[in-house]
């Protein structure tokens, strides 16, 4: 015993020294400018007036939300230091007291109330008014406490509060005096210096940022380089320090490159194939089931995204236990024989011809359409692929002016937003089902986790059975690459660069 103590002490001391040395080597350096090569330009900067992912890539550096997701997808406090849920329809948030907006004004409960009041006001015209519809009112308890009173239990609530795309906190004075699309002031790690649409956004360090010691960078620039090969060339030439790309082919090349770190986002974006259920022959469920059966999803994953994807139902595996094991979903096993039988039962023993509308917005959409064309030909379904521009395809699908169509998808904070029955399925495919209708509403109000999981498993099975939308596979929305002198950066699964606040330059 007497001997072990000094030995233990010695080990502890040497460990301590060792850690000290590692620390010294990894001591973050302050200063410098990091340039991001961005692929799509912002569609405006008002977080409540656009649902485009591209805008999020810009404003997420400037704003904070009440809560945040960590790299594992768990909820963590952000502007709210803690929260409680005394009954299913009341949430109380205790806010941090050391937070200032970038214009020097103190962050208080009034700002939270003003932000959500604005989002809910029909005059604002925000898509979030529907997202936060279950909110009845927001009460300021005191300067640093805010209470949300809900009309009914609202299971996705906290998840939405942690998503910068849904609930970035704006300043009350900006809301009252100006337009948040033009005056961009938040509590986040960086503040906007200059924004030139179609070109660049220059941000500088917020010196009053509340996370002590962060950010390390003095400046951050988000520069638009649309052409993917040019973006890769820019990273190689060190004109930019961080990029993300969608093209699986370029990913293969860059992965092998020295001096460049990479990360693959979680497979959160589903490849969706919409089927117009109001048109012949697709109004017959057997035709849709036949198409689902004739789809070799594994081959599609192998070829179109070069294996970088996962099988998925209406929910990608990335949402955790809500996702039902996709291989067990009805009509998910590749079975052309069954497909032919179903077609014959539906009255199309020799197949039929149909038009497939696809946009060039995501490169793999076209590959997937070509693969499906080949696979479905085996059961006699002849597909004519029509390329449509992005704005046009959104309108075509929203107006049900298509037969088969495909649109890109991205990360959502809650299963409820992955399966928005009334907009995504009902409004776009024309498919209606009273039980799905009821179940998706229950998906919002069921707070009990176990019950909610069971409910979503049921919903997924129903959707796979009715097949108004074929979910082919889930793929990472983008692949991130950054030069190895950028240290401390932690990529997030949801295609967000908020962790640039922790990045520093070692050069």
């Amino acid at each position: 015993m007497k001997k072990t103590v000094p030995v233990a002490l010695g080990i502890a001391a040497s460990l301590f020294l060792l850690i000290g040395q590692i620390r010294a080597a990894d001591q973050p350096k302050y200063g410098g400018k990091l340039v991001v090569g961005q692929d799509i330009d912002a569609v405006g900067l008002d977080p409540y007036k656009t649902t485009a992912l591209a805008s999020l890539n810009y404003f997420e550096q400037i704003y904070n939300s009440l809560l945040q997701f960590d790299a594992q997808g768990a909820l963590q406090p952000e502007l709210a230091a803690s929260w409680e849920n005394p009954n299913p329809t009341t949430y109380i948030f205790r806010l941090r007291k050391d937070v200032k907006f970038q214009d020097g004004k103190e962050f208080t409960a009034e700002d939270v109330k003003a932000t959500f009041d604005r989002a809910l006001d029909p005059k604002t015209g925000s898509a979030r008014a529907l997202t936060f519809k279950p909110i009845d009112r927001i009460e300021v308890v005191d300067k640093h406490t805010v209470r949300f009173i809900l009309k009914e239990p609202f299971a996705p609530f906290l998840n939405y509060l942690a998503s910068p795309a849904h609930s970035s906190i704006l300043s009350k004075s900006v809301i009252e005096k100006s337009d948040p699309n033009q005056v961009v002031i938040g509590t986040g790690p960086f503040q906007m210096v200059e924004f030139r649409p179609n070109d660049t956004m220059l941000l500088k360090k917020n010196p009053q940022y509340w996370e002590k010691g962060l950010p390390y960078l003095d400046e951050l620039e988000i520069r638009l380089i649309k052409d993917p090969s040019s973006r890769v060339a820019a990273l190689r030439a060190k004109s930019v320090d961080h990029i993300w790309i969608m093209e699986p082919q370029l990913v293969q090349i860059l992965m092998k490159e020295k001096g460049i770190n990479s990360a693959m986002a979680a497979s959160t974006a589903r490849k969706r194939v919409f089927i117009n259920c109001t048109k012949l022959p697709f109004n017959n469920v057997k035709v849709r089931q036949a198409l689902s059966s004739a789809t070799d999803r594994k081959e599609l994953i192998r070829v179109t995204v070069m294996g970088k994807g996962e099988l998925c139902g209406a929910l990608p595996a990335a949402v955790g236990d809500y996702a039902f094991p996709a291989e067990k979903l009805p009509f998910y096993d590749y079975n052309p024989e069954r497909a032919k039988k179903l077609l014959a039962e539906a009255g199309y023993p020799n197949g039929f011809k149909a038009q497939f509308k696809v946009s060039a917005a995501h490169i793999t959409d076209q590959y997937a359409a070509q693969m499906l064309q080949r696979q479905w030909k085996k059961i006699g379904v002849e597909i004519d692929i029509v390329q449509v521009e992005w704005g046009t395809i959104i309108r075509n699908i929203n107006e049900k002016n298509y037969e088969i169509g495909s649109m890109t998808d991205f990360w959502r904070p809650d299963p409820n937003e992955y399966i928005v029955y009334n907009w995504d399925i009902q409004a776009r495919t024309g498919f209606t089902s009273p039980d799905l209708d009821k179940m998706t509403v229950e998906g919002i109000t069921t707070v009990d986790h176990k019950k909610r999981v069971a409910l979503y498993h049921e919903i997924e099975k129903k959707i796979a059975e009715y097949s108004p939308i074929l979910y082919i596979y889930a793929h990472p929305q983008r692949f991130e690459f950054w030069s190895d002198y950028v240290k401390g950066y932690v990529p997030l699964p949801q295609c967000s660069r908020v962790n640039l606040k922790k990045a520093w330059l070692d050069k």
């Binding site: 330009d41 912002a42 569609v43 405006g44 900067l45 008002d46 007036k49 656009t50 649902t51 485009a52 029909p122 015209g125 898509a127 008014a129 529907l130 997202t131 337009d179 699309n181 033009q182 924004f195 030139r196 649409p197 179609n198 070109d199 660049t200 520069r223 638009l224 380089i225 649309k226 052409d227 090969s229 040019s230 060339a233 820019a234 190689r236 030439a237 060190k238 004109s239 930019v240 521009e389 992005w390 704005g391 046009t392 395809i393 959104i394 309108r395 075509n396 929203n398 998808d409 991205f410 928005v420 907009w423 995504d424 409004a427 776009r428």
Partner: protein
Amino acid sequence: MGEYFLKRLLAMIPILIGVTLVIFFLTALIPGDVVDVLLESQFQPELAAHLRGTLGLDKPFVVRYWNWVSGLGQGDFGLSIINGRPVLSQILEMYGPSLELAIIATVVGVLIGIPLGVLSATQQFHLTDDFLRLISVIGFSLPSFWIGTLFLLMLSLYFPGFPILKFVPFSRDPVLNLKIMMIPGMTLGIAMVALIMRMTRSCVLEVIRAQFVTTARSKGLNERVVLFKHVLRNALIPVVTLVGLRFGYLIGGLVIVEEVFGIPGLGRLVIYSISKRDYPLVLGVVFFIALSFLIINLLVDILYAVIDPRISYGKKAE
């Protein structure tokens, strides 16, 4: 001359009115609108209708046209729906780099293309001519995105310090700006050289056989004087027309080179605004490009008179 100039300026007004009608009509024909793009993944039919109402998109075509044109008449291009910034300031910001690229490409094209064209014509059927013709065919057969990507690759491999895929406005750092713009300018210039060379060659060949050239030679004039004073001056008119047209085209049609080199210019703005259905921006940019064309045309007409004294505007024919 002054009177002619004034007349031409006045004649531009009806043309511009016609332009506004055509572009407004064509823009309205594009399927899908700005609300579809704004709501992208969160399509809600009621909200879409509400937004169309607040943006005035539900008003009849004539009313929307009048609102826009009357604003335009007062120099008000309106605000971008997508980013809320004034349309005019965005256009002016993006106009600079496009104009700069067009100028560099044209200067390169004229300085290299015309002398080579003349050389090629005077050496007709010689090896030099064959060689130059081959070069020019290659020059305008190579697509600019290929040349551009090749330049980028070579520069990033062999000149790691050279600024590529960066952009600095001329007003902020003229030297760095010119350095950055030189390569994309050259990329465009290559096709321009080829084109101007071919045009100069065929025009010179046409004139060189004219009788007045034979007369000039028979007067005993030095071959150089014949070539530059008599032949070239007469041959240049079609070349100037070509350069003018190309210049206008370059200002508005640089999309590919701008994307490859990451330069924020007008071409990118056109594509962006159309893909986002940002109507005030689309209309503003297209109007501006049309206006540029008209002005360049006017300048070309004036240049004619400078090159060829026989062309004089305003004086009655005698």
